[in-house]
């Protein structure tokens, strides 16, 4: 089973995601954003970075990339779709996850380990976790401050403290169906003890275990 890691121009976490997925025995492949056919893939990850330099709004331009039509198709078919950091912002802009992102409350870029808590296990990201489980994982964003006037987004992980002002301290949010998830901290950065934490493994495993052959 194969996961497409969609590369928009300006994205930079794509190799890290492939590295982490592969280390877990999964299969991941980089897909350029102009690709129009993802039929050979069973799920998709939108990695972190600065798609189109965050011009206009984070994720605003990326959502129009041809590959996103296919991501939307996958999402519609119930396949696992994960947006990490900037990837989550793209999912919001394309309407696959409610809400949008604005600048962090304190207007500064935040790169550090934070603690998050699982509040809902019904998602492709949290399936393998338990409610109340604490996860130590690096945050790395300027626009991590999620707002959702519709209150339709389902929060699956919360920050233990409140680093950026995100609504409901949301660190990860899922679509109603639970197969499309946006997460602000970087699971792929918490997959090696040498680098400070392995707490991200369970999240990526959940994603991989949610893949079903197309």
């Amino acid at each position: 089973m194969k996961t497409a890691v969609v590369v928009f121009p300006g994205v930079n976490c794509e190799h890290d995601v492939v590295h982490a997925i592969t280390a877990l025995g999964g299969e991941a492949e980089l897909v350029w954003h102009r690709e129009t056919d993802l039929s050979e893939f069973d799920g998709a990850i939108l990695p972190g970075g600065f798609a189109h330099g965050d011009a206009l709004r984070t994720g605003a331009i990326a959502r129009f990339s041809p590959a996103m039509k296919e991501v939307e198709r996958l999402a519609g078919e119930g396949a696992p779709v994960l947006g990490i950091c900037n990837g989550w912002q793209v999912l919001c802009e394309s309407g696959l996850i409610p809400g949008a992102h604005i600048a962090n409350r304190d207007l500064s870029f935040i790169c550090r380990f934070v603690e998050v808590e699982v509040v809902d296990t019904d998602s492709v990201l949290t399936r393998g976790t338990e409610v109340g489980q604490r996860i130590r994982i690096p945050l790395n964003s300027y626009e991590g401050n999620w707002v959702d006037p519709s209150n339709e987004g389902r929060v699956v992980m919360r920050y233990v403290d409140d680093p950026n002002g995100s609504q409901g301290r949301a660190a990860a949010v899922t679509s109603a169906a639970g197969n499309v998830v946006g997460v602000m901290p970087h699971p792929e950065r918490a997959t090696d003890a040498l680098l400070g934490s392995t707490d991200g493994l369970v999240l990526l495993e959940s994603f991989l275990n949610s893949l079903v052959p197309a």
Partner: protein, 80 residues
């Protein structure tokens, strides 16, 4: 034609930049400032000779790309 699109963040949406600037103004002694909202202006040159058609097209650009309905309202001014 010259087109000016003003993109204002909805009042109910937080504006961390505005809040920070207001605090900074107070620190500098500009206490008479009581509210600050930071918004965006997009200046465009658009080919076309019928202002109405241009406005319609730019409205479409705003709907699709330039403004995010979750966060923002937009206003369009067309001039020669």
């Amino acid at each position: 034609m010259k087109v000016t699109v003003t993109i204002d963040r909805r009042p109910e949406i937080a504006d961390p930049e505005g809040t920070t600037v207001l605090r900074a103004l107070h620190d500098l002694g500009f206490t008479e400032a009581t509210a600050v909202r930071m918004d965006r202006v997009i200046h465009m040159d658009v080919d076309g000779d019928d202002p109405e058609i241009v406005r319609a097209r730019v409205t479409e650009m705003c709907r699709q790309l330039l403004a995010n309905p979750v966060l923002e309202d937009f206003e369009i001014e067309v001039s020669r």
